[in-house]
């Protein structure tokens, strides 16, 4: 077993070797520009792009013509949100989202607020769910778009897409979902789930970085977008720029593998995740599972370890690559806004770790990771004044702390 062990598949995945094999010729031999109409180099590239488009469409239950290539989910989200907001400005100026969305949704929304749009920021409950009645009540005849993610990237909570989609359809507003974390992990079907726009990214599903896609509904209703990138009129004018053929081919192959193997891959991931979780919880019974223990991604678990601080914990388990909910690691001292959004106290947010497993994770790795983690939490607790106080029977919420 090689260390460090990678348990951060929600941050990014390695390319599947089959994806790389499929991509290789497009760097050197079949390197044409998919927009070149006058020779075979271009035709070959175009054919490969269209094949990939249909692979991605199949993963989503969409028509290939409804798939638009982007540089990733950040761009897909920006295009979906700003593109509809601008296109449908005559209808209204209102958009709805939730406080636990990824920054690639929150920040475009904030940008729109500075341009005269109004945004409703829905709160979530302890498990990360929005209240569907509250969503329904928030939609008015001036609402252009509801954007709610399929699966949360920090805690894995799944939003009930079909129910949200039905509400949006009934109320006559568009529904966008950021499915970056969900694609390939849970079944997606834009028809059954009444989704109008959907973002995905190749590097979260064993494809290359820097390529993604936006699904844009073509019928019932036909969704139109104001382009955010103008130029040669590629992608039916909605997103100009020479296509990243190599990346697109990789994304198509990645989508094919996910679709064909999901039925066997997902139960395996879930079993490994449960194994990890159970081993940790058994040894550290006061650890807290964040999010929804039922409606969640199969490969992810987010756990808080009270009385030890996340960054020091990550530092102690450097044989394991994981993410911390304490953004101390990213140069700001703010704990994760997602965990705070759930109503978690700052100290629990500061002590949380996200483990995300993937296609190449083994049982041996999971056991090793759990044991290292348990040992380190135990060591840090011995060093923790909070743990000592709790052992002495002190109620930490009653202590007067000195803020600084």
């Amino acid at each position: 077993m090689k260390t460090p062990i990678y348990l951060d598949y929600s941050a990014t995945t390695p390319c599947d070797p089959r994806v790389v094999q499929r991509m290789l010729p497009f760097f050197t031999e079949t390197f044409g520009n998919a927009a070149s109409r006058s020779h075979a180099f271009g035709w070959t590239a175009e054919a490969a792009v269209e094949e990939a488009r249909s692979q991605v469409a199949q993963l989503l239950g969409a028509h290939p013509k409804e798939i638009l290539w982007t540089s990733g989910s950040t761009e897909a989200n920006n295009l979906a949100i700003k593109g509809t907001a601008q296109m449908y400005r005559e209808k209204g100026n209102h958009l709805i989202t939730a406080i636990t969305e990824h920054k690639a949704v929150l920040d475009p929304m904030k940008h729109l607020e500075t341009q005269g749009y109004e945004v409703t920021w829905l709160p979530v409950d302890r498990k990360g769910h929005v209240d569907l009645d509250q969503l329904r009540d928030a939609i008015t005849d001036r609402t252009i778009l509801v954007s709610l993610m399929a699966a949360n990237n920090e805690i894995g909570t799944l939003h009930p897409l079909a129910e949200i989609g039905a509400i949006c359809k009934q109320k006559g507003t568009l529904f966008h979902t950021d499915a970056t974390q969900a694609a390939g992990k849970i079944p997606l079907d834009v028809e059954a789930q009444h989704v109008d726009l959907l973002s995905i990214s190749a590097h979260k599903m064993y494809g290359p970085k820097g390529v993604g896609a936006l699904y844009v509904r073509r019928k019932n209703p036909r969704v139109r977008l104001t382009s955010q990138m103008d130029g040669g009129g590629h992608e039916r004018g909605m997103r100009s720029g020479t296509l990243n053929v190599t990346g697109i081919v990789g994304m198509g192959e990645a989508a094919r593998i996910c679709r064909e193997e999901m039925a066997t891959e997902v139960p395996k991931l879930m079993a490994l995740r449960d194994r990890l979780e159970q081993r940790i919880m058994k040894a550290l019974p006061d650890a807290v599972l964040n999010g929804d223990p039922q409606a969640r991604l199969p490969h992810l678990t987010n756990i808080s370890f009270p009385y030890v601080e996340g960054e020091s914990l990550i530092m102690g388990i450097k044989e394991i690559a994981v993410s911390s909910g304490s953004a101390c690691t990213s140069a700001s001292l703010e704990p994760s806004y997602v965990l705070k959004g759930l109503g978690l106290g700052d100290e629990l947010a500061h002590s949380s770790i996200r483990f995300s497993l993937g296609r190449f994770t083994t049982e041996q790795e999971v056991d090793f990771a759990a044991d290292r983690l348990i040992a380190e939490v135990t060591r840090l607790r011995e060093m923790s004044p909070l743990w000592e106080m709790v052992q002495e029977g002190v109620d930490l919420s009653q202590v007067k702390w000195t803020m600084h």
Partner: protein, 136 residues
């Protein structure tokens, strides 16, 4: 984030982890920080009749730099005098551990913890003297 070798060393082999009897009149205890800010330090000193620090212990909830700052502080405290300890500045800790700007607050917290422990010890001493004067 890259940590300096000294931070890593203190984090992996923290010096003087533990607790002294907080009810002992010769022990000063300082607890600073707050769990919601991501760090809490408890620093204790034991002082002899000549004002020398004969023992120092810490427990810290916080990032690696916070643990290292308090571990280093106990090393510096042991064997020095209360008066010299009161002069320890956070900038010395920053320099010794090569702390980056985002971690300077850890050193500030350590300085505060030293001051709080000294303050606690002084209060106890004054109270003990007062009590001794009364019984006379």
């Amino acid at each position: 984030m890259a940590y300096s070798d000294k931070v890593l060393d203190h984090y992996q082999n923290p010096r003087n982890v533990g607790s002294l009897d907080k009810d002992d009149p010769n022990v000063g205890t300082g607890v600073v920080g707050a769990p919601e800010c991501g760090d809490v330090m408890k620093l204790q000193i034991k002082v002899d009749d000549h004002g020398s620090i004969v023992d120092a212990k810490f427990k810290t909830y916080g990032c690696g730099s916070a643990i290292a700052s308090s571990s280093l502080a106990t090393e510096w405290l042991k064997g020095t005098t209360v008066d010299a300890a009161a002069e320890i500045k956070n900038t010395q800790i920053v320099e010794e551990l090569s702390l980056p700007p985002v971690k300077i607050h850890c050193s500030v917290l350590a300085e505060d913890a030293i001051k709080a422990a000294i303050e606690d010890w002084r209060k106890k001493q004054a109270a003990a003297k007062g009590a001794a004067a009364e019984t006379k």
